[in-house]
């Protein structure tokens, strides 16, 4: 199964990347973790996101579209980075996340969300080969 592993933002990550010695050390630890993921064959994709101050939101209400400039409040609900993994089940994903170095200088959170797969769309009329990935 595929999971998206979301690194949640913190006040620190919302300030943007600063090349401090601590940040360099943290990046090295994360690089090692990424190597482990790669060598285990589960890493499909990964990237970091710039702070929400550089982002925009578009809200929908009927035919209306409104653009809102960042930064956005509720910092801890924002996403600072992500991985896409191919794992056997959620237990395996949790076990991998537990061995990830803390992605932030302070307390932080990582969220794991399974992706919809072919088998979840069986009702679709032209869904060729359902149940057959």
């Amino acid at each position: 199964m595929r999971v998206m592993v979301l690194v949640k933002a913190t006040e620190d990550s919302e300030k943007g990347f600063l090349p401090t010695p601590e940040a360099k050390e943290a990046m090295e630890a994360m690089g090692k973790f990424n190597d482990e993921l790669r060598n285990a064959g589960i890493l499909l994709d990964a990237d970091g996101l710039k702070p929400s101050s550089q982002g925009k939101r578009v809200t929908f209400d009927g035919p209306r579209r409104t653009v809102i400039d960042g930064p956005f409040a509720e910092t801890r609900e924002l996403v600072a980075g992500f991985w896409l993994w191919e794992v056997k089940d959620m237990d395996e994903a949790v076990a991998w996340v537990k061995r990830c170095p803390n992605p932030m200088p302070g307390p932080s959170e990582i969220e794991i969300r399974p992706l919809y797969e072919m088998a979840d769309w069986q009702w679709e009329s032209d869904a060729g080969g359902h149940g057959n990935p």
């Binding site: 190597d35 790669r38 060598n39 285990a40 064959g41 589960i42 890493l43 499909l44 994709d45 896409l84 191919e86 056997k88 089940d89 237990d91 395996e92 949790v94 076990a95 991998w96 537990k98 072919m118 032209d126 060729g128 080969g129 359902h130 149940g131 057959n132 990935p133």
Partner: protein
Amino acid sequence: MTAGETHQAIEAIFRIERARLISGLARLVRNVDLAEELVQDALVIALSEWSRTGVPANPGAWLMTVAKRRAIDAIRRDKMRERKHEEIARELDGECDRTAEGNEMAMNDDLGDELLGLIFTACHPILSADARAALTLRVIGGLTTDEIARAFLSSEVTIAQRIVRAKRTIGKAGLSFEVPRGAERAVRLSSVLEVIYLIFNEGYAATAGDDLVRPGLCLEAQRLGRMLAGLMAEDAEVFGLLALMEIQASRLPARIGPDGALLTLTEQNRARWDRLLIRRGLDALARAEALGGDGPYVLQAALAACHARARSPADTDWPRIAALYDRLRAVMPSPVVDLNRAVAHSMAFGPEAGLRLVDEIADAAALRNYAPLSAARGDFLFRAGRLAEARAEFEAAAKLTRNAREAAFLLARADACG
């Protein structure tokens, strides 16, 4: 956490660590069977200890330390103690003096090399291709014997025996579990790649009614391919095979029609192709080409990439495909490659070019009474306006194929010749 949840969490950690634990131990004790047993014992101990104490900070190193201690015990209990065994035991004593932290560091240093060594050993050419596939899925993929049997449409007894025999053969041959070097490496690597592609194709051949373990083989092979690409970052064919598998797997969601029949590339709804896998495949191919790759897997991946890049069948770069088949023919000569080459040339340069090439190979023994050859020839003749000859070829092809749907399709084409 409930006891059940703890148990599940430990099992998940174990699944992650299993292959590298086995590879580290196999190199020490020179015995896959014993290594597997030691790792299993370590899991049993972990299950009882960790339920009380919680999971340690470095679970992999903890498991390795326990398993190595058990290895010494096992060797000491062994009545047929030879000098060689004592040497191993002394070596092990040294290893065990290290703390769990030391083991962690040693594991990280050796990790890639040991794992690679086990992959090369499980895929050693002294074993049959089937035995290599079964053993690789067992010790590297962590599949159970039952899962492997279901995946290969075989019985559990057959697979179990195949694995036991493979392990015995490895033991008798005294293989060292090292990564081969020099000239031997290239030969051994092609044996590894062959096994991974065999596993992939077995999964690719699965159909809608099959046990889900079968299509799962594609994922397993892709995972092995990605592992290998991580561990052998300088080998073009490794990236070629990975690219080929990622691109082929990208079509899995699109290749089966509503009636359960396989669809050709032209018939597939390309919107269903998995863009992430295509991008990964193209990246791997770019890496292979940057490494100067020109081997069979790189070329096959380049061919697959031509189709992956085309938004619709009409956008296909046929001249490039024809040129790639010219090169593939040189490194991987086969009548089927020749036939595909003729088709590619007909698409790129017209039906006469296809006819010329197909007539050159029509006498090959492997292609005599081969339905796809007659079907291709029929198609070239049809497009050249030679309808009577085309009809005869399509009818001949319909008689040769054993697939009812294909026969109906070919007869319809014969009818269309007027």
